[in-house]
């Protein structure tokens, strides 16, 4: 698991798995719909600069899923409680995809413990016309097609199911089930969120891979436009998963933003 060690913590009836390590300013990393990524190389790079806390969302990885939880907003409430419990301050909040959505939901409620926010390929808002999905329906296409939209180089990153252990396959199936639970309807968004984003009063960076087939440029630009002072930065030649597809570049961008002007 590299630089991070696994721990668990209890928040009400949620038993949250979290990975923690490194030193420096605190950074909460909220993973995307593909599941926890605490073992990925970018985490080691982040841990060299930050004190990283990377929880697994309820119903993902080793976290349980009480029956009452069924939305990204539920995750946001749990993580606000987590950062209070861990007494994190001046936090760099980094979320990817549905983790970005979660981070945005958190910051619309309170930014008391949050210093800066990075939303990488975030979903969660609806800006397009009523008769077109803003985010392509990943549940209505073959896996190969989802991978094609997800990665700039799908052949390089697509997992080979024959090489996964049974435990990996079970976790992947459960992650996908929870992803469906919390994103099904309204699909990949909370209709209220875009009306609340104006409340975010911290420097915010929206990151997007130029070849992201799930989150379009217009969508990411609109997201940034709804948050006062937020900036959109595009990383060339990568897709929806910048921290995996180009760990070095991703960490560099995050680090620069963390140390940048307010």
């Amino acid at each position: 698991m590299g630089a991070l060690r696994r721990d668990t913590t209890k928040l009400g009836d949620v038993e949250l798995e979290l990975f923690e390590g490194g030193s420096g300013p605190s950074l909460l990393f909220l993973h995307g719909g593909g599941g926890p990524v605490a073992g990925a190389p970018f985490m080691d790079r982040l841990a060299a600069k930050f004190h990283v806390i990377a929880p697994s969302h309820p119903g993902f990885g080793g976290s349980n899923l009480p029956l009452w939880i069924d939305s990204i907003d539920d995750f946001a409430h749990i993580y606000l409680e987590l950062i209070r419990l861990l007494d994190l301050k001046n936090l760099l909040l980094v979320g990817h995809s549905i983790g970005g959505w979660t981070a945005a939901e958190m910051a619309t409620k309170t930014t008391d413990r949050i210093d800066r926010i990075v939303l990488a390929a975030p979903v969660g808002i609806k800006i397009g016309p009523v008769d077109r999905l803003d985010i392509p329906d990943i549940f209505a296409m073959p896996d190969a097609e989802v991978d094609r939209l997800r990665y700039a180089e799908p052949d390089k990153w697509r997992p080979d199911p024959t090489k996964l252990t049974d435990a990996d396959l079970l976790t992947a199936a459960r992650n996908r089930q929870t992803l469906a639970l919390v994103t099904w309807e309204p699909y990949m968004h909370n209709p209220k969120l875009k009306h609340r984003l104006y409340r975010i009063d911290r420097p915010t960076l929206v990151l997007r891979g130029a070849k992201d087939g799930l989150v379009s440029h217009d969508y990411a630009a609109a997201y940034a436009g709804l948050i006062s002072g937020a900036r959109l930065e595009t990383i060339p030649d990568i897709g929806h998963v910048p921290h995996i597809e180009h760990a070095e570049r991703f960490v560099e961008v995050v680090e620069r933003f963390a140390g940048g002007p307010r």
């Binding site: 029956l67 009452w68 069924d70 549940f139 209505a140 296409m141 073959p142 896996d143 199911p161 024959t162 049974d166 396959l169 079970l170 992947a172 199936a173 459960r174 996908r176 089930q177 929870t178 992803l179 469906a180 639970l181 099904w184 309807e185």
Partner: protein, 393 residues
């Protein structure tokens, strides 16, 4: 033993399967000719009336966004049948309650249909097939939990007669439930539930509802029925499970002319042959267990046993086909293998099986097979008494 004539009201005039990715969900409805479709419904309703005249009961279902069953509103067809039939029991199997937003509306529809039929409705509930999650925009997670909360609420609505009650559950909310009309049959019409697992069936058995299972064949039917019998006994309903609590749906075609029987049976297999469904519609995340989904990633999920030939289908136990003597022999063998059941749901029309052949199949089944099944398997028979066990006693 009761036999139910079941027509899935298919629209068979489709492009070559090579020309589409999925027969469900996405196939454009430009392929549906409304005039041909209306004529087909005239025909299917006539076939149900003939089945009634021959002494069979009537079963219908509903599906969505598919030519395999162009009845997306079962209760509407149910009420139409209620008015053009007189004596047959009318089974809707079923209401896909995990995909219904308003269970109370389902209770109203069923009670109303019961009034219009003067008490001939049998109410079936299904979870809904996985490929209709997307058309219903229904969350694929917790479908079992939604189904059971809905069933319990519907039963309460059907049986409460003293003014409004409220329901604030995990999935459904209703503040003042007080349906008009109430059902014709008291305390409520017979309830059927379809499941495909032993644990699901145990839940049905505990409540004493009628358990149906579709095309589960030799391999998967017995565990379902065993689950039902276990649930029944554990709930304190007694040791003996009457066969009229269990139902099995299969393709069936019967003719005194063996060649004609085989030809008709082959036409029924159209339903399987054209049932082309990609994995992402067969297995929406959460519909199946995590374990089944993980296994499916490795070897691909198949919902129904595939049956390319009549012989294979008979061997699998998803079809009874041949002369009356052959069908009786096949039926006896299957009945013994699964431990007995009291309702045979006959999928007796499909694809390009003509009206003439469909009626021939209905009549042969009703006149040559049904009387012998009633003799051999009277309503007093007990399910779960396996031949080897009885012989050992």
């Amino acid at each position: 033993m009761k036999i139910w004539h079941f027509s899935e009201t298919a629209y068979p005039f489709l492009p070559d399967p090579g020309g589409y990715e999925s027969v469900r969900v996405d196939l454009p409805n430009r392929y549906y000719d409304p005039e041909k479709g209306a004529a087909l419904f005239d025909r299917f309703i006539e076939e149900w009336r003939i089945a009634e005249a021959e002494g069979l009961e009537i079963m219908l279902n509903e599906h969505h966004q598919t030519p395999t069953c162009v009845d997306p509103a079962g209760p509407l067809l149910l009420t139409a049948l209620a008015r053009v039939t007189k004596t047959a029991r009318l089974l809707i199997l079923g209401n896909p309650v995990a995909n219904r937003r308003q269970p109370v509306r389902v209770a109203e529809e069923m009670a109303f249909a019961d009034i219009l039929s003067h008490g001939r409705i049998e109410i079936g509930f299904v979870r809904g097939v996985p490929y209709e999650i997307s058309p219903a925009n229904s969350n694929p997670v917790y479908t079992n939990e939604r189904q059971w909360e809905a069933i319990d609420l519907i039963l309460k609505a059907l049986t409460s007669h003293d003014g409004p009650f409220s329901h604030e559950g995990r999935f459904f909310h209703a503040r003042r439930v007080n349906i008009w009309p109430r059902p014709y049959q008291q305390p409520h019409p017979p309830i059927w539930v379809s499941t495909t697992s032993g644990d699901g069936a145990a839940r049905v058995g505990a409540r004493g509802y009628i358990q149906a299972t579709f095309l589960t064949g030799y391999g998967a039917t017995r565990p379902v029925f065993e689950g039902y019998r276990r649930g029944w006994r554990e709930a304190g309903r007694g040791q003996d499970v009457p066969i009229d609590r269990l139902a099995y749906a299969a393709f069936a075609f019967c003719s005194p002319d063996e060649a004609r029987a085989r030809e008709g049976a082959e036409k029924l297999l159209w339903h399987i042959a054209i049932n082309k469904i990609p994995a992402h519609y067969q297995n929406p995340p959460g519909y199946n267990t995590v374990e089944a989904s993980a296994r499916g990633v490795k070897r691909g999920l198949g919902r129904f046993p595939k049956a390319p030939t009549v012989d294979a289908a008979v061997e699998q136990g998803i079809m009874f086909a041949g002369t009356p003597a052959q069908v009786l022999e096949q039926f006896d063998k299957f009945y013994d293998a699964v431990g007995g059941f009291g309702h045979l749901l006959v999928a007796g029309q499909s694809g390009f099986l003509s009206h003439e052949d469909t009626v021939h199949g209905i009549r042969t089944m009703a006149r040559e097979v049904y009387p012998r099944l009633k003799e051999r398997y009277p309503g007093t028979a007990i399910s779960g008494q396996f031949r080897e066990a009885v012989a050992a006693q």
